[in-house]
Each structure stands twice: as C-alpha cells, then as structure tokens.
Symmetry: C2
Subunit: 433 residues, 2 copies
C-alpha cells in the first residue's frame, strides 16, 4: 500500500561554514553550505527526503524552484513512481512555462534535482533497499528507461546502452560481494582549501597520509607562484607514490589553464579539475590535448546530460565528475553514467558540501556493480564535513566508502539539525548573528 504523494515540504537549510573558511577556493571564497531540502509526504506516512546543494545566498531560489516543480508531484501514485521513475522525472520537466527558465539548467534544474532525489529516497524506502541496490537490481532495459534519450541518440542509442549493460549482468553478483567486502575507493579534499596556510596544509597532508589516503587534491588558480609552492609542499609530504590532483574551480581562461598545468607538471598532477568555464566544451578539449597525460577533470557544474555527452564525445573530459544534485537527480545521473561508460571515462563524482557524499556513493556503487563494472581509476570525493547531521551518514573504512544498507538515498537530515540550521531563524543562525 505505498499510497500517493500528497504534499511537498521544503526547508531552507544553511550551515554557517564560511565562519571557518572550510570549503574556500579560488572561485568560492566563503561558502555557507546549504541544502534546498524537500520532503515528499505520502498519505500512508512514508516520506521521501532529498535536496539540492547550494553555497548560501540564493538557496531560497533553489527552494522556490523545488516548490514550482514539486507542485507537479502532488497526487502521483507511489507505485507508479516506483514502476517508472523516468516517467515521473519527465513529467516534472514537462511544464513548458517552467522549462523556459532553463531549459534544463540553473535554478530550475537544481529544484528538479531536489524533487527527483527525494522521489528516489521514497523508491528506496518502498523497496526496502538503498538506492544503489535498487538500481543495481534493475534490468538493463529498466536502467535505460530511466533516461530521456531525446538529445542523446547521436552519441549513444538506448539499444547500444542495453547491449553494453547486458555484458555486465553476469558479473554483477561477484562485484556486489566485492563492494560489500572492500567498499569503494575515495580521495580527500579536506587538506587543500585555499584559505589554509602552508603550515596547516603540510600538517593536513601528513594527517591524510597517516590516515591511509592514496590521493590528495589541492585548490589552485589564484596565484601561480603560490600554487607551485603549495603543490611542491604537498608532493613532498605525500611522497611520489600517491596521487596529487589540483582544482582551479573555473578561474582560468584556456591559455592560462595550459600555463598552470605546465608549471605544475613537475609535481606529477593526475588530474587538473575545472580549469575554465564549465560551459566551455571546446576549450576543455583544447586544454585536454595540451596537458596530456594529465587528465582534465570536470562535470561538477555540468548541468545536464547533453553537456556530459559533448564533453565525453569531444575528449574534453578525462575524468567525469558527476554531481548528484546539479543535473536533474538520479535518472539523469544514470544517463551520465551510461555515457561515461560508453566512452570508457572513469566517473569520480563531485562530493563534499553538505550531503553530496551521502548521495554520490549510491551512483558510484551502481556504476561499479551494473554499468561500467570497474573501480579502476575511480574514486569518490570525500570531505569530512557535516556528516553528523544525517540519519544515515556515509561510513568510511580507511580510504573507502562502505555501501549504505538502510533503505533510501541516505539523504535524510536529522530533525534536530533541520530545526537548528533552518535559515534564518534556526538556533545556529541566531547564535552566530
């Protein structure tokens, strides 16, 4: 008796992270990690929780978008949602007046992601399974049917995708066992925020190594000489065997990006992340050619599958940094996983912020079990912030994510945290003002 969606509740949650310069980078100097949080209420007491992520001011716009999109969810039967999640997602997007605000980008897309993610939490709860497992148990055809293929067929057809997925069916069981036993590899960004001084950077790198991490990422892009110094320091501390990645957070033009990569090359950079505008497929392709074998990593700000399709087809994306809450939620994430697998590009999802680690682990895990079938060169970003607010927080063992076991999408924030961080009247904000 799964009932009907009867109400869409939204909550403006903001965490005052800017007070400690956690999360500072060359583009985003003082973020307040925020969730435009959605609860889908049903008439049988089940709830689906989901959110999109923003960095503070403007979270109210993402909420307003989730409300506008969410109106289209009211009355939808939960069993119909569970039987055809892709159909539900396409229905949410079928309001042509709202579509005009994107299309499929910016705030309206963030709102869509929040509602779709909440719907998948509901699907998981109805199934009594975590979302990664719900997805991993779907047939190739069911996975392919999650996707809106309208603009993708020139690069990948649903038929070719089914064929690709069929090849992974025989190994699913074995990989699920390996996943439960070993977890999924991670890397950390905690050490390398721009707001930290050299002593703190060195100390954090050392702690990271001591904690067993194999890869470290530094923020760069404000001052080249400084970045050379910081990368030299980090490489010295982590030694030659571990991976060092850098992230310019879109601050550079194509020419400067190549100059940066060349100057940092002596420190053996595995990937160069977000060198320039996230819209610029052609510039990323140029940069990728110029800086190989360093890979260009991007995707955290790519807003839909059409963008990923182009980045992949153009060879502009050597690492695919899918986000769980910027494209339109789980269904569109599956489209991206299929496109990346078809191009043999590893997906290393963007995480951090608030709750992104909780979400993306599900995406990487279904990727491993049922889509790409591989963990090679794949890692989920990990940042040790704000997990304490979640009902089902990520569980790490060393440098690996352990698969979630609770039903749903791990998206639910504790009621006490929802009360404390509600903006602007929650206790966390009143105390800090």
């Amino acid at each position: 008796m799964p009932g009907v969606i009867v109400d869409v509740e939204t909550v403006d949650l903001r965490f005052p992270t800017s007070r400690a310069l956690d999360g500072s980078d060359a583009m985003n100097e003082a973020p307040d990690y925020s969730a435009a949080y959605v609860v889908l209420h049903t008439d049988v007491g089940l709830e689906g929780h989901g959110f999109t992520f923003t960095i503070g001011r403007g979270n109210e716009l993402a909420l307003a978008a989730a409300e506008a999109i969410g109106r289209r969810a009211r009355g939808w039967p939960v069993d119909e949602l569970a039987a055809d999640p892709g159909g539900f997602s396409r229905h949410l997007q079928a309001d042509s007046q709202l579509r005009w605000l994107g299309p499929a980008k910016g705030t309206i897309q963030l709102g869509l992601a929040a509602v779709v993610n909440a719907a998948w939490d509901l699907i998981g709860k109805v199934a009594g399974q975590p979302v990664w497992k719900v997805l991993a148990d779907m047939s190739p055809r069911q996975l392919v049917d999650l996707v809106d293929w309208r603009y993708l067929r020139d690069v990948l057809t649903p038929e070719a995708a089914v064929e690709m997925l069929e090849k992974q069916v025989p190994g699913r069981g074995e990989r699920e066992v390996a996943l439960r036993a070993e977890g999924y590899p991670a890397y950390t960004t905690s050490a390398g925020w721009l707001g930290y001084d050299d002593d703190k950077l060195a100390r954090l790198c050392r702690e990271v190594v001591d904690a067993g991490w194999d890869a470290v990422k530094l923020k760069v892009g404000r001052d080249l000489a400084e970045d050379v110094r910081r990368c030299a320091l980090a490489r010295e501390v982590i030694g030659p065997a571990r991976r060092l990645m850098v992230d310019a957070n879109q601050t550079l033009g194509a020419g400067d990006a190549v100059r940066w990569a060349e100057a940092l090359a002596p420190f053996d950079i595995w990937w160069f992340e977000e060198p320039t505008s996230p819209d610029d497929v052609l510039a990323h392709a140029t940069i990728a050619r110029a800086i190989a074998p360093t890979r260009v990593a991007t995707g955290e700000h790519a807003h839909n599958a059409v963008m990923f399709k182009q980045f992949l087809a153009a060879g502009a994306m050597g690492v695919c940094q899918l986000d769980a809450a910027r494209p339109g939620g789980v269904d569109e994430a599956v489209a991206v996983l299929l496109l990346a697998a078809a191009h043999d590009v590893p997906v290393c999802p963007h995480a951090g912020g608030v709750g992104l680690c909780e979400l993306v682990q599900h995406l990487s895990m279904v990727d491993y079990v049922a889509i790409s079938g591989s963990r090679e060169d794949r890692m989920i970003e990990y940042v040790d912030h704000l997990h304490e607010h979640f009902v089902d927080p990520v569980r790490m063992r060393g440098a690996s994510y352990l698969p979630p076991s609770r039903p749903g999408y791990s998206a639910e924030i504790l009621p006490s945290s929802r009360a404390a961080y509600a903006f602007p009247h929650g206790s966390a904000w009143r105390a800090g003002s």
Copy 2:
C-alpha cells in the same frame, strides 16, 4: 547630478496570451508572456526600467533572482555606472554564493539581465540618448571594456576586437544617416504559430506579403508530414522570391533534425532555427554541415557569451539569434555582437514575447553602426504583440524598424499596464480567472 541607486523595485507582470494560442510552438504550447520587471530608483528621481522575459509560471523565480542580484546595485553611483557599465555588471556577478546557482545560466542569469537592462535604461536617460546611440558613440576601447573577457580570449582577444572596431569608425556617421533614413530590416513570425490552422496560416501569409514583408517564419517540429504541408502552403502564398524560415524550437534530436531539413528543403528554407537542444554545440555543428546551404539559426536560448563563442567557432551557428534578456543584458550582448562580427555571422536577434522587440532593436542598430557595419542578411524578428503597453514602443515603417529616439532602452512599460497585468491581482488576471 545623476545621484545614486537607492532602491530596486520588482514587478511580476504577466500577459494572459495563452488564452488565444498566440506564441504557441512545438515546445511552448501555451505561453503567458511575462516580464520580471525591475525599476532602479535613484535619489534624484531618475529611474531605470528593465526586465527579463519568461513565458508565465516561474516568472516569480526570475523576480527573486533579480531581487537577489539587485541588492548588489544599491548604493552604486549613477555616474560610476555610466562611466564603467562593464564594471557594474561584473560587480553584480561577483557574489560567489549566487554564482553557484548558474554559473551564468538559468534563473540567476535572467535576473542579472533584468537588472543590467534597467541599468542601461538609466545610462541612456542620463545621457539623454537611446541606448543604441550611446553604444554607437562609444570608442572601440569603451565598447571592448563592456565585456568580461575571462573566458573569451582563446577565440577573440580584446586587442583584436579593438582593431576590428577601429575599421568601422570611419563609416559610423554614414551608416547612422542610412539607419535614420531607412530603418533596420525585419521579418515576421506572426503568421506561423503551430496553433493556427491552414486557413489562418494561408490568410496570414497573404497579409504578410501584402504588408510588404520579405521574409516569413513558420514553427515546425511536431509532425513532419504536417510541416511539409504547411511549408508548401506558405511557399505557395509568399512566392519564390521571399525568404522562408522554419523554427523547430528544440524539439528534435540531431538525426531527426537532418531528416526534417531534408524533407523541407524543396521549399527553399533559408534557415532552420533551434533544431535541437540549445546546449548542444556539437550536434548543431553536425546539423549545420549536413543541411548547408540552409543555415542553422540558434541563440535564443544560449545563456552566455561562452556558449555563443563555441557555436560560432564550431561553425554551428549560421545565424546568431541573440536574445536581449537571456544572457546577462547589454554588456554581454556586446560581447556576442563582437564574436559574431569576428566570425562574419549575421546577428538576427530573437524577439517577440513582450518587449523583446523594444530591446533588441538597440542591439542590431549598434551592430550596424559600429560593430559589424552591415545590414546584409540581417533582420530583427518582429511580432505584433503587446507593443501598446510600452512608453516608447517600436516604430515600424513597412518591414523596417525605425531607430528609437527617446532616451533609454525603450524598456519602460506604462504605469497603467503595470497595474493591470501585475500577477496575480491585476485587473487583467482577475477578469480572466
């Protein structure tokens, strides 16, 4: 004594155009043309009016974005705005928390456009000139300084742009005289909305020809056989000498778009507009190669100069349909005009809706006088809707726009119309509900 911006007023204006199926196309079935309307108030009584355009539901999101961006305009001295409009525009965009919602796309970009357009209305009023004339009197260096070059230099440098503009300086005076005498060519979309039946289509095409138009555009993309019939009918009515264009409003995949263009080719289609996703540079490039000499026209939904840069550099855009209110307003429009001129691609701006004709005429006119220096293959879209609500409506002579002469950006809507169409409590909405 031009004063300081002291307040940013926003008004939710919606026109119930869906009741008559005006503006229906394959993607946008029932639009209610709407303006997220902004008034910049100064402490000396001067006002700058501007807006962005939406098609109904969600206009409240564009307004909320304009409010969030507009907070950054408060206290800005008007003489500083007039001396460095590009600096003002970059300041509006420099809130990293708000930037996260785009970046530079979707609702936050629509809000930016509304505020920037209002600022240019103010600049025109301070100068006592229409905006096209303010721009046309700027030096090449001043025009180039309007632009944010961060992500553009790989395709066009500011130095190359200055050099290009210098070549047009000697002819400016002569072209301004021609513009004032002859106006700027236009084409009409009024005949070809999808909601109209064949009789109405034929009658409207005949009226269009009788009224002296040289070019007609039809909406297509829902049913190929029907579109073949409608294009045959339109071509028969308008005769062989006039231009016939079609607009698929993003409804097709790349393969279908080529199929459509091939089926319609017998009717001598000058351009094929928005064949597929507006984000898909690579698919547009493929289509453009396949359907030449029919040109691919796009840009109405391109959200920033980085997108235009790619479309132009990839040969994916044979006609550049710049919009006045989707990219970030006048300053970014100048960037697009420069990029298009550098690629020798004609700019035929997207207009219609409410007030877009009023705005884009300024952009085409500065393009002619000071940037591309040409009216060849260039036309401004014209739709005869809703002009009666404007203080300074477009003035047509035959199939040409006459240059506006009143100071400002022609963006101001009559106070009576602002009262009547305010949503949801204006008289137009109360009467229709």
